[in-house]
């Protein structure tokens, strides 16, 4: 009787440690060393990439040097905007519905094929079909979903990102079709960010995502 508070304290500590261990166990190993993960993925992805183009993309087999694709993922009967930037041999992708679904992905691109991975096992693969990009998105907790995206020549269309002091914000600008975005401040909640101006200078800290942007970096 006298000792039950010690038991309560011990039970709380043990429960906390068990939950912590479970969280550590389900952590995908790929995201643990963010800097070290891409090279092996690149090696793995470019090998099949060299073999697949003749069968999957007979028309266009190479990406333009710098290209932005904007399109939609069809997931569970609804569409979620997606934008992909291919810059040299780097692909960066952002899937965002402007409400609660978002995913940043990046990976190698080459020979008309790209393979981008994100956190939580998120994964996007795409290949050129004509000048359009088509492929599959796997988002954690959802069924694999197909997407199609078209290259855009509109100056403002594409993926934008702002990251710093704990807050990460992403936008997909879709030209005349408007824009979507999500912002989170590290508390687990997401809020819609202010829309980007359709022309003129970008707000401070907002950058168009290109091949050098690390979209999986912690802010």
């Amino acid at each position: 009787m006298l000792r039950t508070p010690y038991l309560t304290l011990a039970a709380v500590v043990v429960l906390g440690l068990v939950l912590l261990a479970v969280d550590m166990a389900v952590q995908p190993p790929a995201s643990a060393p963010p800097a070290a993960a891409p090279p092996p993925a690149e090696a793995a992805a470019t090998a099949p990439a060299a073999a697949t183009p003749p069968t999957t993309a007979p028309a266009a087999t190479t990406f333009p040097p710098r290209v932005r694709y904007v399109g939609d993922v069809v997931s569970d009967g609804s569409t979620i905007p997606v934008a992909v930037t291919v810059d040299g041999d780097h692909a960066k992708a952002y899937v965002c519905d402007g409400h609660h679904v978002e995913a940043w992905l990046q990976g190698p691109a080459g020979a008309g094929v790209l393979d981008a991975t994100g956190r939580n096992g998120n994964h996007l693969t795409g290949h050129l079909e004509g000048d359009r990009l088509t492929g599959t998105v796997h988002l954690a907790g959802r069924a694999d979903a197909p997407f199609t995206a078209s290259p855009t020549t509109d100056a403002r269309s594409g993926v934008y990102r702002q990251s710093g002091s704990g807050r990460t914000t992403g936008w997909i600008v879709r030209g005349d079709a408007g824009q979507v975005g999500l912002s989170h401040d590290g508390s687990g909640a997401v809020t819609p960010p202010p829309p980007l101006p359709v022309a003129g200078p970008l707000p401070a800290g907002v950058v168009p995502v290109d091949g050098t942007t690390d979209v999986l970096a912690a802010s």
């Binding site: 309560t8 304290l9 429960l15 939950l19 550590m24 939580n120 401040d185 508390s187 809020t191």
Partner: protein
């Protein structure tokens, strides 16, 4: 200088002696007697150690990207907000039952009140554990905004004070004000945690599961 505070024997009041002892009146204050404040040392140091360990882990640990989620909720933020809300409701039971046990509410304190106090407390702290694990693992100790800083500090204070309370309870040699004061700190810290996270979420993102 008029100094009516009880002082431990062996520490005579001098004019340059700062008033470090708690300033009353506290219910049931008895003269601490020799060894009473040292008796508090173990619980207080234990609580401090836990609070510091949580804060340091939260600061040094590289935030994870994934944590176990619960079905039926729109996201981990809402799971945590509702668990914290449950804990706060149980904490109100704690406050009322404690006031009753200390004779501040009602004329008598039936024996089931202390059982209610014990079990509501155990349940309250247990439902906070998944929340703090998620907070620590995914976010860590943050100070990006006053809200986040207050929340981080309150989280460390809450578990430190809880540990102090658990370590004080079995001891018969701590001063009479120990449990009300430490319990009050636990309660206040939990309410601060709820205000800076759950209420913030409910007001900015709406009240739903």
């Amino acid at each position: 200088m008029s100094n009516t505070e009880p002082r431990p024997a062996g520490s005579p009041a001098t004019d340059d002696d700062p008033d470090t002892a708690p300033v009353g009146p506290f219910p049931g204050v008895t003269s601490p007697g020799r060894g009473a404040l040292p008796a508090l040392a173990v619980p207080v140091l234990g609580g401090l150690a836990l609070a510091v360990v949580l804060g340091v882990y939260g600061r040094l640990h590289e935030p994870g990207t994934v944590a176990v989620s619960v079905a039926g909720f729109s996201g981990p933020a809402y799971v945590k907000a509702w668990l914290t809300t449950v804990a706060v409701l149980l904490a109100v039971v704690q406050l009322v039952s404690a006031l009753n046990m200390y004779g501040r509410i009602g004329h008598a304190s039936p024996s089931w009140v202390s059982t209610l106090h014990r079990w509501s407390g155990r349940l309250a702290v247990l439902v906070t554990v998944p929340v703090v694990v998620h907070c620590l693992y995914v976010f860590g100790f943050g100070y990006d905004s006053p809200r986040v800083l207050v929340h981080s500090l309150a989280g460390c204070l809450f578990y430190g004070a809880f540990a102090t309370k658990m370590l004080s309870l079995p001891r018969r040699d701590v001063p009479g004000w120990t449990l009300p004061v430490v319990g009050g700190v636990v309660f206040s810290a939990l309410v601060a945690l709820w205000l800076t996270a759950a209420l913030w979420l409910f007001t900015t993102r709406g009240v739903h599961l």
